[in-house]
Structures are given as C-alpha cells and as structure tokens.
Amino acid sequence: MSFVEYGDTIKDGDTAIVFLGHESMFPVKVQHGTVTQTKYGVIRHSTDLIGKKYGSKVTCSKGGWVFILHPTPELWTMNLPHRTQILYSTDISIITMMLELKPGSIVCESGTGSGSLSHALIRTVAPTGHLYTVEFHQQRAEKAREEFREHEVEHLVTVTNQDVCKNGFGVSNIADAVFLDIPSPWEAIGHAKSALKAEGGRICSFSPCIEQVQRTCLAMEECGFTEINTLEILLRVYNVRTISLQIPDLGKATEDNSSTGFDSSNPSSQGSLCTNLQQGTAQFKSGVPLREMVGHTGYLTFATKS
C-alpha cells in the first residue's frame, strides 16, 4: 500500500483502516506478531491481515467481523491522531480544486498541523509534484515527518521547522499554489507571493474569523493579488430513513368508502409513498438531516498572482 498508489493485498508495515461498522473505524499499523483488540475480539496481524486482500471481511476471535480498508487521505482524515484542529474533506476538496492542483503541481503549505490536508495534497500532486510544508512547532514537525515516512510518501514532501511569518517557506519562485492555515495569515502573504512562480499561481487562506479574512484580503490586495474571492462551504449529511406518519382520525376512518377514497387519491405509482390503512399510517423514504451539523469551519479566501 501507499497513500498515493493502490495495492491489492495487505503487507507487513502497511497502515490499514479497520472498519467496525457505522462510522466507527480506526487505523492500524500492520506488523507480524502483533494483535489488535476490537470490541468484536482480537485481530492477529500475521494470520488475519497479512496477505489478505484489502476490502476483505476479517472474523475476530469472538465471532464478530470487521472490514479492512485500503488507506486513502479521506479515511486518514477521519481517523488520524489529532495534534491540532484539522481540515476535513469538504474544505479540502474545494481547496484542491480552487488551487487548481494536479499531478506535477508544486505546493507550499503552512502550518502542517496534524497533516490532514498534507496527505490530500500529496495524493493530488503525486507522482511528479512536491509539497513544501512549514510547521513552527518542532514536535509536530517531527511527528509529521515520521508519518510521511510510514506512509511511504516522504519523497513527495519536505517538512521545514520554522516560522512562516518571519522566515517564509524556504523556497522561492517555484510554487504553483500556496495554502495558509495560520492565526495571522496576513503576515505571510508577502512570503507566499515570493514562493509562487514568477508567472503566477493561486493562493488560499483558511481563517475561522471574519476579522482575519478582512486583514488577509487587504494584505492580498496590497501585494497585487487579483481575483480575490472569499467563500464558505458546508456539508449536509442525510440519514436515509423509512418514516411512517399516522393518518389522523377525522371520524371517517371506519367507513370503508372514505378509506378507499383516500387510497385512490394517493396513486400507488408514487413508489416512495405507500399507505397502510389497517394501521392508519402512511410510509415514505426520506433523507433526514442529522440532528446536529457542522455550522462553520472557516472562511476560505482565494486569490491569483499573475
């Protein structure tokens, strides 16, 4: 496996995702002789995982079973150990498209944080692109390097431990795109500009507060960035449910005539709606929004250097 290339079978040293069912999963590092405890029992790596196909069902000691999935940046985002607040796939997807990333792109990122976005960026720019990521927190920088090595993508990424606002990205005139997720992005706009290629490129800044966005936009304008655009993207997830609503008793329900009248007013061709008169309910399928959803992650400000 690798985060940038699919493999068929699970090998020693791989990172795999154990899927327990219904949004519940966790990553494991596959190693000979190691065991992993789940609520369905023990998984023995040597016999249960290594050599098996990704996507297989693995039976655990208690008779329960789990699926073993191939790692992807998206699954990693959902399961990675948090060292900071992270960016989720919804924001990541629009960032990737609006920064016009593709194989071969050179990207600068700061800060690295927990590496959620980093993995997605690396996946997109591989095999010929490169990610230069800057993290001022030494421990986090070190941890990120370790993860990239483990995930077999270290050749596609350079982690630098310095303050991007003071020292920049450590590269100049080579980037196609720059991404900033730092508390004071306006202090790094100048560095971002010099990191971008002379013929131009795209920039994105992620900030939770509108005051940060205002200062960033002003800084971008001063640096001559054009096409400055701020947007916000929200994900709505729906649960698929079969709902049955009770039909009110208007005093007619006992009369057969009126009930058939009701039936005919709801043609059975409407597949999603079926009436069960014996129980006095009508059933239908619905996509029900979750009780609680993410209402705000951050504003994304994009601009072009040309």
């Binding site: 940038v4 899927f19 196909k53 016009e100 709505r236 997830v237």
Partner: protein, 451 residues
C-alpha cells in the same frame, strides 16, 4: 476569427504571445493590450455625504441625456472618460456616502469600460463557467459538488477509473486533469458515442487521450453475463457511431464558439482547439480535392478507410472490454441524467474491493432508492448521502457580509467504499451467475421488459 462576447465583438490575434491573466480592452474590432494596473482614476471628489436623508429620486440627477451619452460613445471616447463625465454631471454624487460613490463608480465602470481577461482553462474555471452559463448541460452539477466527487472518489495519478457522465465531458475532463495522464480512464457512454465538448476546452496534451478508453453502456449487460463479443456488434451501429462522432465533432466546434461568445474568461486553449479544428477541416478539404482528382481510386480508398476505422474501433472496443473484465477498477464516478440505481448496480461489478465510488444526482429521491438497493445488495460500506452548501462573501473594509444571492442547490452525492461480497451473498450471486448462463436472447428480453 471573429468572436462575440458579452455584446462585444473582437479578434483574438492580438492576444497571442501574452501571459495568461493579461487584461485587454476592446476597441472597435480588435483586442488591445492596456496596462495591467489601470492607475485608479483617483476620485479627487473627496466630498461625501453621511446619509441619504436629503437625496430625492427625481430622475433628474444625471444632467447628461441619453443622446449625449450615445454621442460620447460614438465618438469612440475611452470608457474611463465617459465614467468621469457621468460623475461630474451627477448632481447627487457629492451628497452620496463614500460607499455609495464607490458603488456608483463600480457600476458605471462595468458598463463602459469593457475589459477582458484571458485565463488558462482549468477545472475551476470551466466548472464555474458551465454552472453559471449552461447548468442544464451538466445536470446542474455545481462546482463544489464536482470538487467533492473528485476528493471522495480519491481520483489521482495511476488509478484505473470508471466514469459514466452526461455532463458534456466536464466530469471526464476534471478526472483527466487530476490524473495528469497517468493511469487509465474508461468512459461508459450512452447512445452512439461519448460527448466531450467540455473536455476539449481543457486543452489537454495528446498523450492524455492515449489513456482514455470508451465503452458503450448498451454492451454492459452482455459483458457482465459473458455473452459479449465483437461479432455481436453489427456493422450498422458502428456506422452510426461514426456519424454520431462526426456530428459530435461539429457540435464540439459549435460548443467552443458558443463558449467563446459567452464565457467570461475567454480561454486561450479553446481558441487553440478551434484553430486546430480549423486546420483539421482544412486538411480534410484538401484530401477531398485529392479524392476528386482520382475518383475511382478515391472511392476504393474511402471504403478502405472506413473499414480500417471500423476495424480500429473494434480493436479498441475489445481492449476496453478486456480492461473491464479484469473487474479491478480503482473507482467509479457517475454523474448522468439517467436513473442512478441500475447504473450503479451494474457498474459496481467492475470495481475492485476497498475502492471508493461516488454518484451524483440532481435530485435526492433517486439516491434514497439507490441507498436502499445497495444495502440490500451488500458489498459496500460507509455509505453516505450528502449535499454541500456554498456561500460567497463580499469582503470590503466595513462592508463585509455574505453575498446577496447564493445558489439554491448543487445536487446530491451518494458515496461509499466497496468491500468483498459476503459469502452468503456470494452464493446468491453465484445462483444469479447460473441464471446468467441461460440463453442470452431470453435474458435480453427479460432485461428489455425491465427497462
């Protein structure tokens, strides 16, 4: 080549040799290159009111008449100067607040200073453009939904992707961009041939198309049941495919010219493409002349040419069928005008386990059904029905707020990950496989009935 865009017409000749992102001003008939930064016509009218309590709408605040303005325009005076004149002749301008003045100038500038920026084509530009200009052609797929699809589908270099779309080739183009010419794409198409009008706007290098395969949707059933063979392919539909593709080519050309007329950032690549197309047609016509010169030989050659093309097409089809038969695709992306359930259930067969799939639909209800059917079938985990909301903001000093209008809907996505089918379920599919060994004709009839 004359091009019409936003009620202006111009020639692109002058734009060649400039970097992408250069802004041009339109003069009578040609494109002119003005300075990048127009030194702001400094609003030296620093006098400004604080509120609008004394501003009355009497319709007489502008002292220039309609005819005056037309006269200015006819004289070919620079737009910038017209705006200046309009400001000077507005009696209420000085009483307006600073922000209202700003807004007034911006509005007039938009109307009188015709500036055109030429940018490089990308998924970002094309998806935004198609969504704004021709949402019907792409099933109202908003660009943020497309972005989601590419991410959820883990589209990246080196994959073997299956794409079924009726979005004018926009989704295909987006996938091709993300794969950068590495890996394989198999496009499943309905009817006589794949539509790639939007794909051609990307200006992909030729080698990107070497990795692109296509397979007719109508042959999927026979491929799954094992009755597929190219002999089944009658020559008649082959011919129609040819015709279709030719007409596709035509519509391509129409499409690009249409885009050039409407598209905000006129893409140079689409221009290049149309130039290339012109060249092609030129070549064709010279060939035609040659044909006429030696009619007899030409006729024979023509037939041979047709046969050769048919043979090549058949060869490609066999190759693609072989690729599909491996049933090890790395992902499936569906965005079409068709009902997604039968497409998904059939095409998932070609996808390897532990790979992502994404289905787009403009409406939520078909995806609800799809969700239920997939649950019944099994072999998938992490099913998710979702939608994204996109909100744009105006960010200006002391005037930041969400934009007044936002898009009502960008469609819905159903995504998930394939896994190895259950043993028990595998048995049921096995019995299905047995059923599939029944005479093909009968099976076909049954399928027809289902349709």
């Amino acid at each position: 080549r004359k091009i019409i865009f936003e009620k202006q017409w111009f020639y692109l000749d002058n734009a060649i040799g400039h970097v992408y992102g250069t802004t041009f001003e339109v003069t009578s008939g040609g494109s002119l290159q003005p300075k990048k930064e127009v030194e702001e016509a400094t609003t030296e009218t620093k006098g400004a009111g604080t509120d609008n309590r004394n501003i009355v709408d009497d319709g007489k605040s502008q002292k220039l008449t309609h005819d005056d303005i037309k006269a200015l325009k006819d004289k070919g005076i620079k737009g910038q100067e017209i705006v200046q004149q309009l400001i000077e002749n507005s009696t209420t301008f000085r009483d307006k607040t600073e922000f209202a003045q700003d807004k007034y100038i911006k509005k007039k500038k938009k109307k009188y200073e015709a500036l055109i920026t030429i940018v490089k084509p990308s998924t970002r530009i094309l998806a935004t453009m198609y969504h704004a200009r021709e949402p019907g052609k792409i099933n109202h797929l908003r660009y943020d939904s497309l972005a989601q699809m590419l991410t959820l589908g883990n589209v990246h270099a080196g994959s073997k992707m299956l794409v079924m779309e009726t979005c004018a080739g926009l989704v295909l183009g987006a996938v091709m961009e993300r794969m950068g010419g590495y890996g394989t794409i198999i496009q499943m198409y309905p009817g006589g041939g794949p539509l790639r009008a939007a794909t051609s706007c990307f200006g992909f290098p030729k080698h990107f198309f070497d990795t692109l395969h296509e397979f007719p949707l109508s042959k999927v059933e026979s491929l799954l049941s094992g009755t597929f063979s190219t002999e089944v392919l009658p020559s008649e539909p082959e011919g129609s495919t040819l015709v279709e593709e030719e007409s596709n080519g035509l519509s391509d050309e129409k499409q690009t010219s249409l885009q050039e007329t409407e598209e905000e950032p006129t893409t140079e690549a689409s221009m290049e493409v149309s130039q290339a197309e012109e060249q092609e047609t030129m070549d064709l016509s010279t060939e035609d002349v040659e044909f006429k010169e030696s009619k007899e030989k030409g006729m024979k050659e023509n037939v041979q040419e047709k046969q050769r093309k048919q043979w090549e097409r058949r060869k490609k089809l066999i190759e693609t069928a072989a690729l599909l038969r491996e049933k090890n695709s790395d992902g499936l992306i569906i965005a079409s005008k068709f009902h997604p359930t039968p497409l998904l259930l059939a095409l998932l067969e070609f996808v390897a386990p532990s790979r992502p799939f994404v289905v787009y639909c403009q409406y939520k209800e078909p995806l609800l059904e799809c969700y239920t059917k997939l649950r019944e079938r099994g072999g998938v985990v992490n099913l998710k029905l979702s939608e994204t909301w996109l909100r744009n903001y105006q960010v200006l000093p002391d005037r930041s707020h969400p934009k007044l209008t936002m898009s009502g809907g960008g469609g819905y996505l159903l995504s998930g990950i394939t896994v190895v089918l259950d043993k028990g379920r595998a048995d049921s599919t096995h019995s299905e496989a047995l059923k599939m060994e029944e005479p093909a004709a009968k099976r076909c009839r049954v399928q027809d009935l289902h349709c």
